[in-house]
Symmetry: C2
Subunit: 366 residues, 2 copies
DNA sequence: CTGTTAGCGCCTTCAG
DNA sequence: CTGAAGGCGCTAACAG
């Protein structure tokens, strides 16, 4: 049963035609065409021999692979694995093989993978997940020097550009880099919607578990949330915006700090954690302190991670259709989308972690 | 800026040596060796030119890719994404690229990917996740799911064998196929341990949400659990072993049935769902019925999915080190493990969903 | 419309 | 120890 791989030339011989004809019959050459009966014969022979082309050889002859690179920070994170599921589905539809890279948050590895993809002549590459902002990136620095620091981010952009110039498709998920195609997530808008909804429920005093400094997604969500609240006349005090890691443990310990601090004062009415995983950590901290969500504090998150939909009490959040985001990014990377830039908007999902709150007594803010 | 990919011959020219020498210097030929100074020169030139080999070309010349295929049912499922994280890590250590296939539970697709891997001459392939048992094994095929036209039972095994004979490494995760290398998970033992622990806590009347008929993993967990209980003198009545899908919704609706049925009788003391995701669904059903876990029913699961560690009440479960399983499978597939078969044993984790239960009144079992 | 002929980039016998 | 030459499987100009 040892099948030496069937080659195209075997198929050609079996069908009694030349190698070239067999090739054209099988993958329909763009320029040449093949007589119907010959094509039939070739296809028939291929089927009989269970022929299937060698991707490496095709890649070499065509100068282009059939691979789609997907780069994520951590495939075990449900945020990324859901995006990956969308990418996998869309890639299969497009007849592409997806090669996965889980960088474990190392931007060096991220860069290495982009370069590998170029070298390997991948058809396209998708980068999911934000990178940290360059330090001290204060917006519009007048004049913009020819080389403004930030070695790593700049290198990534350069690598991506090189990849694109070499004919590869690129799509980013989450946040833009240069002018590259991107599926943006309306983080600020979603968080603002959430803030308004919560304000509408009667909440007035908020705290935010804001993720780490320099984390763009976290910053956008925080800004959207606090911005909307400020407009509504319930500004969040700077002290109530806590920096912490973007993880479950980050949420847990930041909430712990909040609670400890509250011993000397009082807890905010509601704590917004900038992602669901952090929110769940925060809820655990509340429980571990012997307090209750939502009786002592309400909690809200962001993303609507599917696996977390059944936590109790149900977590109020902003639903992002992550799998669709993955599919969209694939279309984009393959150049099959109309535009080169899409924004996916989230939808506020109110659950039991933030029940309506009867109007506070006006004197409450003493 | 348009870098035409750097080739080995450019490096050779730059270093002033022949192509062959450059090749030997860079990837250390097994038979020939290269003079130290020449090697240095080549490596230096390669670095200067930022050379990196073209995987397709190497694959063609060597007749073997540098790719590791990973086939899972659904990459969005935390069970699989955690395994994938382990595989990704181990693969990177081994200098391999992982190509991901998410079959969405289609065994036809699974088969297709194995064949693709062979054609593509992947270095190795890892199949995670159980396949359904061959029909007729279960006997009582009452109202099971409609079979989605599974291919010939032996087809997958044949494809895997062909892949292996063609020089590829194979590893399965979860359950064996033929004599192929496998990382087995001690499902029955883990479930038995869990049963004993729960019995030790004082529980006596159990029900099992057992997953679908023919699902081997589910069946093993169910058998381990009920077997241990029978030995302990608290057998589970067949009626209390409920067939249902292996999903959150499966757990939810089966638990709903149990509750509905209990209106006319009583609830079991503890419900064991054969995986955490189902258990969480079951807990949701309990809540939605206005009941409480653990006051009205205790609930236990299996896997210890990381994202679910903070559900409330904390879910008692059997911890399987999924990421390690992925790493192990990679070692196995690469032939780097001692043995060709490993069993990973889980560890019972008791949490608040199954508090100790005071000895029931003897008359309770009327 | 079909067949012949170069390579794609690299590895690996073979000579030198 | 090093260089030259052949070929992996396939595609894409070229003839015919």
């Amino acid at each position: 049963m040892s099948d030496a791989p069937v080659t195209l030339s075997q198929v050609a011989r079996e069908a009694g035609v030349s190698l070239a004809t067999a090739s054209r019959a099988i993958n329909g050459s763009a320029t040449r065409s093949v007589r119907e009966d010959l094509r039939e014969r070739v296809l028939e022979a291929a089927r009989r021999l269970a022929y299937s082309p060698d991707p490496s050889a095709q890649a070499m002859a065509r100068g282009r692979t059939t691979a789609l690179g997907l780069v994520v920070h951590d495939i075990a994170d449900p945020y990324f694995s859901t995006i990956a599921a969308g990418v996998a589905r869309a890639a299969e539809r497009a007849g592409l093989i997806v090669t996965l890279a889980s960088t474990e948050h190392s931007s060096a590895r991220e860069l290495a993978f982009v370069e590998l993809a170029r070298r390997q002549r991948s058809r396209a590459i998708i980068l999911a997940g934000g990178r940290l902002e360059p330090e001290g990136d204060a917006g519009v620095a007048s004049g913009g020097g020819p080389d403004d620091g930030a070695p790593v981010p700049g290198a990534l952009e350069a690598a991506l550009n090189a990849f694109q110039e070499a004919g590869g498709g690129v799509a980013l998920v989450g946040q833009p880099i240069g002018g590259l195609p991107v599926v943006e997530i309306a983080n600020a808008d979603g968080a603002a919607d959430l803030a308004r909804a919560l304000h509408g429920l009667g909440y007035r005093r908020f705290a935010v578990l804001a993720g780490p400094d320099g984390h763009r997604t976290a910053a956008d969500r925080t800004a959207g949330f606090t911005g909307a609240l400020a407009e509504l006349g319930s500004p969040v005090a700077p002290d109530d915006v806590l920096t912490c890691p973007f993880t479950r443990d980050g949420g847990y310990s930041a909430m712990g700090d909040l609670i400890k601090r509250a011993d000397a004062g009082r807890l905010p009415e509601l704590v917004f954690a900038v992602n669901d995983v952090m929110a769940v950590g925060a809820m655990a901290a509340v429980r571990d302190a012997g307090l209750s969500v939502p009786d002592d504090v309400a909690v809200a998150g962001f993303d609507d991670i599917h696996t977390l939909r059944d936590v109790s009490p149900g977590l109020t959040t902003v639903r992002i259709p992550l799998a669709e985001v993955g599919e969209l990014a694939t279309e984009l990377a393959l150049g099959r989308a109309e535009r080169t830039r899409t924004t996916v908007r989230g939808e506020v999902v109110l659950r039991d972690s933030t029940p309506p709150r009867p109007p506070a007594t006006p004197a409450d803010d003493a």
